[in-house]
Symmetry: C2
Subunit: 431 residues, 2 copies
Amino acid sequence: MKASDARAFFASPESLALDDYLLLDYVFECQDDPELAAAHLCSEQSTAQWKRVDVSEDYRPRFAAKVLDLNIEPVPTGFSVPMPEFGDQQVHRCRIRIAHPHANFGPRLPNLLSAVLGEGAFFAPGIPLIKLLDIAFPDAFLSAFQGPRFGIGGIREQLKVFDRPIFFGVIKPNIGLPPEPFAELAYEAWRGGLDIAKDDEMLADPDWSPLAERARLLGAARRRAEQETGVPKIYLANITDEVDRLLELHDTAVAAGAGAVMLNAWPTGLSAARMLRQHTKVPLVAHFPVIAAMSRLPFYGVHSRVLTKLQRLAGFDVIIMPGFGNRMMTPAEEVRACIHACVDPAFGQLKPSLPVPGGSDSAATLESVHAQVGSADFGFVPGRGVFSHPQGPAAGATSLHQAWQAISAGVPVAEAAEQQSELKAALATFG
Amino acid sequence: MKASDARAFFASPESLALDDYLLLDYVFECQDDPELAAAHLCSEQSTAQWKRVDVSEDYRPRFAAKVLDLNIEPVPTGFSVPMPEFGDQQVHRCRIRIAHPHANFGPRLPNLLSAVLGEGAFFAPGIPLIKLLDIAFPDAFLSAFQGPRFGIGGIREQLKVFDRPIFFGVIKPNIGLPPEPFAELAYEAWRGGLDIAKDDEMLADPDWSPLAERARLLGAARRRAEQETGVPKIYLANITDEVDRLLELHDTAVAAGAGAVMLNAWPTGLSAARMLRQHTKVPLVAHFPVIAAMSRLPFYGVHSRVLTKLQRLAGFDVIIMPGFGNRMMTPAEEVRACIHACVDPAFGQLKPSLPVPGGSDSAATLESVHAQVGSADFGFVPGRGVFSHPQGPAAGATSLHQAWQAISAGVPVAEAAEQQSELKAALATFG
């Protein structure tokens, strides 16, 4: 690209009608001229060829993605991931903000993904390493999306739980256990105070636990637990399956008594989730398989905050994400960025999604998770912390309430445990 | 996990009914005991909790993923991607083969993805870096999939082209050009000998080029080109859009005269593609946005060969992939592995998909791409190489045929160009 052509891919924010543009923040590493690489990055994701041969025309003013800001730093240590096929020329790490015209494709998730994570980003000449760090949508784009139907407020209303985290529990064993004992475990946990008993994301509709039968038994167990405790409960059914079965599985699960349904968002597809959003009668819950494959490394792929925003856009009421602690290999700052993406009020008319940072949780981790989140507006999702509690699932669920009571009273959880056997056993086993 | 428990996650191939298992090849890096890490990797993707508390049972024999083979190598230079939060303990790089029982989830693409690229793989304790290198499906699993409806043979029959690569061309300018001149460009390229004029993967159904109108004009242009040349042609319409519009857009495009339809496979979702496969009347073509975000790095994510196999499983007749040459930043060996995944006869009853390795191609690259592929069973997909040819799109398409005639006659393309102005201009412009 000639320098004069490259200049057409730069603009000042003041010169653009920003409601017509997505704002994309990338970090990339390159060895050649960073300004030329930046122009290529814009060109490849929009109007790489902006005119016909022998025709006087230019599609760049209206259709080109444009560099708004470019920050260039030399990296003395070279590429952040060794690139043996490159020489030892100076490497620059560049932070760039791009304005991308959304009318190039319209308010459609598959086309949005193709534009911001497609050939334009990952095959721009001279840019072997790149990560999409953030995305901002103007109201003109957001207004085409319904977003969460229930949001945090709707889920709190359904459960009549207004002033504490929502207690989820992943029923375990998840693989192999037939529906009848599986429902019995959920019943016990609900009796002990669990709000939402959920299917593991790996448990869907296999021969040995057909969803229809499982939902029937869980629905009955839920009603029994509600009658005995006088408190609303939710069975969260995992309906992750082929796209053409989702509506039918939703209907089956909900008719049997599921109060919410879960999709593995990325494997099933965000667009399929958006389709289900138009149909659903209950909250939609997202789980996170596959996302780490493109989000873990600091300078390659896509930041999980972007994927969280896309899940909220697709209409998930609840977003389960890798949480705090070494076990989930996700920096605390990244988890907090994803939580913020769920609840950020600057997201058009879209309701907030309930963030659920998860991973090896139990009564022993509630205090630190609450401190990290900084509010009670989150879901807490132990698996073994409830279902492998040595005194059984009811005690596991009870231990969560005991921990929360201590936290809200300002008493250290370890101190409160001295008087409460369920909490004491939880700390001894999982602490 | 206790050593005695870890042993239950190891098995010999002879001890298993292999038709019940997927074979998964991963490479991972760890600092702790590699055998324990391997057991965790199996446990987390299957029966992490294999019994209830106080119940004598064990779900591992039937439901556990099992290590069949483990090869451990110390890496003196440490992790392949710097991991500052880890110390400088010895790092091991491990190649592992796992047998994963497919009855845990059944023949469903979203559940398959969740099992092999989910929390089990990317959050196994002690394994910060992992890549899924390959996957093998037993016939018992493959038999549930239709695979490509037309395959290579069906596309060749449709075009009556049996003995050379299929010539695709990406109509350019792709972003901004209205349907009428866009159709005119395709018409010219078809007149010059192009087989398939295609929409760019970034061009879908925007206001400034609605698919219905574009397909109507392209369909008419195609029929005109067929009448004038006496040769069958295909307009390949990009119908990438929200999942609930796919069938309608397919019907609209095909009724107007599209002879094939394209999906950006990963952004739209493989399961949505499988749904479309049941409905389609024309070949389905896959394009590759997003895939590089999780496949480029040597020791993290998933190998593109795996994603190619999944696209064939979903039913794509044609798979466009990053091709040869520095521009596409993909090692030649990786491109060849993806091509092999398209055509490998050991894939149950599924027809082969036509591989289309692409990236900045023109008459100048046909010889080297053909040599790399090693057969004529591929698609060749220039964009600018046809539509920015200095003598126009007809000459661009003609230059491909001239290059192929030289190749099949054993004449160097550069030598043949001396007598043929279209080819000569192509080599001068793009060579």
